[in-house]
Amino acid sequence: MRKVSGQMTAASAIRVLEALPTHERLILPCLQAIQHAFGFVPEETVDVVAGFLNVSRAEVVGVLTYYHDLRRMPPPAVVVGVCVAEACQASGVRSLIEQIEHDFGVRLGAGTGSGPVEFAGTGSGPVEFAKVYCLGNCALGPAIMVNGRLVGRCDIGRVRAAVVDAQVVPR
């Protein structure tokens, strides 16, 4: 991600929005398109979306803050979602989380509630860990998703290997 000024960001955001077909000219698809282009939704694009759709800034922020997937800050090179839903709990994700916390020095929080998003500094750069609810791999849990790649039957060794793999393959 290159550093761009606010004005340049706004200008390229308009180009992203203008490329959308009519049926995608709604708040959520606009924000998704911007995130697809920038990796996140930069602050200065909120007004651009509001202006483009002729809706209030509040409506755009409302959607932006509602959906877990939409980010307001750039993501690190590696993003790990750890499934903490029931099927993975039954397969031992509670103890896997303790091991992840120990190994990576993050705190996803005891239990399985929505913990904070955590960043671990590894040799090759930051890694983000977040709890997610169900990746649809419920017979092969515990499951994680690393940069969009699903990994099943996870123990701490497989988690570590998947993070290392993702660090060498750029997104």
Partner: protein, 518 residues
């Protein structure tokens, strides 16, 4: 001569190494001078055997699994490409009892072929249902759906035929078909496996629905956690357009129907139909009060037929084989088949499609082979995070809508999650409330505030703070959430909580402090 080898491209199979196995097979075969044609099929649903490799032989397809990349060379050396038996071998796939005992209707084609091969789809009976639907009057198609007894497979179990008739008869030029593929329930993955393994069946079911009720646009709302399903569906739509059965003139009928794939953005409650419609309109996924029902005022206020993936995927077979064939399966008011998903701590997890009426015990013990850990089963959660926890002694319940409801549970989307005796049921009850607090859309007070209060009350109970009174308070809270919530999110969260208290009360006792029966 080229040997045909099947290695699933399903994301569950790939999560345990199917891509690496496929690459290794090509590599080893080339080194040994054998020509292989590797086909990435859908998964057969025997997930404990993934990566499950099948080899085409004159006698039929022979299966091997679970195959690790490191096993490939030894397998090929010992004659896998000729179908020779091996420690990892399972013989002819069609004769594997776990598969042979199933009655696959919606999943009939999944795993048999390359999911995006249109010729294979036709060869395996694809488009027969759509052709028949286009050849008869639309009210006859809707009547067929009603006569089949098909009910909504997303969880609510509403008769599909009544919805079709309502949308068909609703006034208006603009109508929509919306497919709910926001499969957020833990323990469910059938929608994903069908979308990845046989996307044309879903598109055909939607096309039948759209051309029947008079909708020209169908939208599939797929959760963002399913990137592979989204890719597969988008390609499948392109192929169907080129093939002439999606677009301005469906199979030369003069009727127009097209499908768009819409990606979700991470919100469990968007699996609730009205929240999904809000999200499809680009807004926050807030639940709408009903009435008006979506069939009359749905997407952008227009009549909208909303169905789950599995409901729409049953439609082509109903049209092709007749409503009576489908209606002949099942029990009482639960007709046809249900795609059960065996998950959690289970030895043989995966997809089991059977006529309604099979007992939970048969599913969990005969098909599932009990726990993966080898420890005794203590609890089974049926129907996702809003479903009840049933104790071991209740497993003889029949798996149909009414029998499960009578047993205090619900079928939901057909997910079955098994827990062994190390589970702490107070922690599971707490999680149900926590999950509701995180994912509540916030529109109604019982769900938004009740869930947070629920976590606090359970914490007090397990900490030994006035447990009797707090258990009473928890029960009152559950009653308020059940009766006062706008949708199933807040309305059904009490189901796992109350069932945990009722069947596993000992875990809520501070002296055991959630230690369970261990």
């Amino acid at each position: 001569m080229s040997v045909r080898v099947y290695v699933p491209g399903d994301s569950a199979a790939c999560s345990v190494g199917a891509d690496e196995v496929a690459a290794r097979i090509t590599e080893v075969a080339a080194a040994e001078g054998v020509t292989v044609e590797v086909i990435r099929n859908g998964s057969r649903g025997m997930l404990w055997l993934e990566p499950f490799v099948e080899v085409q032989t004159p006698a039929g397809r022979v299966g091997y699994g679970p195959v690790a990349p490191g096993d490939v060379e030894a397998l090929i050396d010992s004659g896998m490409l000729e179908g020779v038996s091996h420690a990892l071998g399972h013989g002819l796939v069609d004769e594997i009892p776990w598969l042979a005992r199933q009655h696959r209707v919606s999943f009939a084609r999944v795993g048999l072929a390359d999911p995006l091969d249109m010729d294979d789809y036709r060869r395996l009976g694809g488009l027969v249902g759509l052709r028949r639907a286009l050849a008869i009057p639309v009210d006859e198609v809707a009547a067929d759906i009603l006569a089949s007894g098909l009910r909504g497979r997303g969880g609510a179990g509403f008769p599909a035929g009544i919805k079709w008739r309502t949308v068909l008869e609703a006034p208006g030029d603009t109508k929509y078909v919306c497919c709910n593929a926001d499969e957020g329930d833990s323990g469910t993955f059938a929608d994903r496996m069908l979308m990845e393994g046989d996307p044309f069946t879903l598109l055909e079911g939607m096309t039948i629905a759209g051309t029947t009720v008079g909708a020209s646009i169908g939208l599939i709302y797929v959760r963002s956690e399913y990137p592979a399903a989204i890719r597969t569906l988008r390609t499948a739509v392109d192929i169907a357009r080129v093939d002439g059965w999606l677009g301005p003139d469906v199979l030369g009928s003069g009727r127009s129907f097209d499908v768009r794939i819409v990606e979700g953005a991470g919100s469990y409650v968007c699996g609730e139909e009205t929240a999904m419609l809000e999200s499809l309109e680009g807004k926050r996924g807030m639940v709408r009060p009903k009435p008006p029902i979506p069939a009359l005022q749905g997407l952008f206020g227009h009549p909208t037929l909303v169905h789950n993936v599995l409901t729409l995927s049953a439609v082509p077979a109903i049209l092709a084989d007749g409503a009576a064939a489908y209606q002949g399966l099942g029990v009482d008011r639960s007709r046809g088949t249900q795609v059960f998903q065996l998950a959690g701590n289970i030895a043989r997890g995966g997809i089991v499609e059977l006529a309604f009426g099979v007992s939970l015990r048969e599913l969990v013990e005969d098909f599932g082979g009990a726990t993966f850990s080898g420890r005794p089963i203590r609890a089974v959660q049926v129907g996702g995070p809003l479903g009840a926890y049933l104790p071991e002694h209740a497993l003889d319940v029949a798996m149909d809508y009414e029998a499960l409801a009578a047993a205090g549970g619900m079928l939901g989307h057909g997910g079955v999650v098994v827990f062994d005796d190390t589970v702490d049921m107070a922690a599971q009850a707490r999680f149900a409330m926590e999950f509701c607090a995180v994912e509540s859309c916030g529109k109604c007070t019982p769900c938004r505030i009740g869930s947070t209060r629920g976590v606090e009350v359970i914490d007090k109970i397990t900490a030994g703070i006035d447990p009797e009174r707090n258990l009473e308070l928890l029960e009152e809270l559950c009653e308020t959430m059940t009766d006062g919530s706008l949708c199933a999110m807040g309305g059904l969260t009490p189901l796992p909580v109350r069932s945990a208290v009722a069947h596993f009360g000992e875990d809520f006792h501070p002296s055991t402090n959630g230690q369970g029966k261990r």
